[in-house]
Each structure stands twice: as structure tokens, then as C-alpha cells.
Symmetry: C2
Subunit: 155 residues, 2 copies
């Protein structure tokens, strides 16, 4: 029985290895309040194994298009002091479905524009429903700040 049992508390390097997220990123997430860690007497971080799931959730939420600040706000809804249940994780992301639907709709609108719009001259702007959607589509690329339909800081 010389097999090493799976460690209960993970170092930052171990958590990095398990999640694929760089240790520097994990420290950064802590700095931004997305994750936390116990500390050893000497100051080294120690994570419970459930933390890997929290990190995975962060990555998932990023893919959805949330900023770290938004993710932080979401994570605050979770219980403190114990690992969240599967259901609690699922509840957290329940509202994202609409967001994804909107994104898919925009992409499909863009795809139609590929044939309908670019060639025909609709690209004359101003009333193009493809280039001028109502949603913000933040995570779909930065784009110029003041696009048609977005209001500049104080117009």
C-alpha cells in the first residue's frame, strides 16, 4: 500500500494541473475574489478538491461570455463553508440559456448576412438589421465603442 492517496488539500500547482489553468491565473482569480484558499502556517495556499469544480465553472462561464466580474457576482450566490451541490451549480447557470439563444440568433443572422447583405449593398449601414442588432454581444469581439444604436456616454 505505497500508493499515494488523492490529496485532500491541493496546492496551487496541483489545482493548476487538475484544471489546466495556470497557477498565476488562479492567484489572479483569488485577487479578483472568484476563488479563495486556506493558508498553511507559512502562507501557502491550500484548496479543497471541490475547488476544481469552481474553477471549471469559471471557465464555463467565460465561454458563455461572462466577464470575471460577472462571474464573481454569480459565485457569491453559492453557499460559503461547504462545497455546493450539483443542483446549486445548475441553478447558478440556469439563466444563461437565454443569453446563449441570443448569441446563436445573432450568429445565424450574421450568417444570413453573408449572402443576403454583403453582396447586395445592404451594407450601406443605418438600417441594416444584421449589423445593428439590439443586443450588445459584448463577448463577440470588441468592436468600436459607439456603434449605431449604442448610445455614447452622453449624446
Amino acid at each position: 500500500m505505497t500508493e499515494t492517496p488523492p490529496p485532500i488539500w491541493l496546492t496551487v500547482g496541483e489545482l493548476a494541473a487538475r484544471t489546466g489553468v495556470a497557477a498565476s491565473a488562479l492567484r489572479f482569480y483569488e485577487d479578483r475574489g472568484l476563488i479563495g484558499a486556506r493558508r498553511t502556517d507559512s502562507g501557502h495556499r491550500r484548496y479543497p478538491r471541490s475547488m476544481a469544480r469552481r474553477v471549471a465553472f469559471i471557465l464555463f462561464a467565460q465561454r458563455i461570455g461572462l466577464s470575471l466580474e460577472e462571474i464573481r457576482a454569480e459565485l457569491q450566490k453559492l453557499p460559503v463553508g461547504r462545497a455546493p451541490s450539483g443542483e446549486e451549480w445548475a441553478q447558478l447557470s440556469a439563466t444563461w440559456s437565454d443569453r446563449l439563444d441570443q448569441r446563436v440568433a445573432e450568429l445565424q443572422r450574421l450568417k444570413r448576412g453573408l449572402t443576403d447583405c454583403i453582396g447586395c449593398g445592404c451594407l450601406s449601414l443605418e438600417r441594416c438589421a444584421i449589423l445593428n442588432p439590439s443586443d450588445q454581444a459584448r463577448a463577440l469581439g470588441a468592436g468600436p465603442r459607439y456603434w449605431l444604436g449604442d448610445s455614447p456616454p452622453s449624446d
Copy 2:
């Protein structure tokens, strides 16, 4: 007949007004080689009206998820010295359809993961097909640089 005829050459402010893109952004695009301009004797920019379409194309391409550098490369395929035809614009974007399909597929995968994956523990990473897609999905949010499946600079 005191009506002002539509100007043949646009100033940067006029092009900004027509496209909804800030003048500073237009200068920035010029700096990056995406657009060009004639100059008056005094150095002021003058754009042909067809430039509005080029700018619209840039915005469109950004929505698709292309970086400015990628867009620059695309635009280099266009003829110089004359305004491109509608067909030429359409050809340029013909290959984007696949890209959009992939993005839509990823979003739908993410949406399924909302119910299938987050709650069930699949979020344990490493083999999660949702968090570990083969494409890069660059425009879907930055995310940590070294995600599972991406190779660090030299592993």
C-alpha cells in the same frame, strides 16, 4: 436648387457619421492598414463614398470574430484603385460560413452543458467535451491562455 449634393469625397467626420464608427477608430484602422485615404494639400483625409462599405465590412467581420489583423489580410485581397463590386465583397466572406457554424455548434454545446454537464459532475474537467472543444473560439472571451488541449509555448 440650394440642396447640397451628396459629397463625393468624405471627410473623416463625415465617414464617422455615416458609419457610426468614431473618427478616432477610423484613424486607428488606417494606422493598422485596414483603410486608406487620399489627402488634401493640407493633409486632411478624404474618403470615397465606397469607403463606408469597407468600414461596414470591417464591423461585420469583427462580429464574425475576426481580429483586425485577420481583417486586414482579407481586405488585401480586394482590388486597389477602384471600389470592389458586390460580388467581390461576397467572395471575401464566403469562407466565413464554416466559422459561424462552428461557433453556433459550440454555443449549443455550451447550452447543453448548462443542464447536462454543470449539475452532474462532468465539470470534473479533463474529458469534458464542452469545456474542451477542439476549436479555439478566440472571440468567445479570452480565458486562460493554457487551457486543456492548448499547448503552452513549449511543453
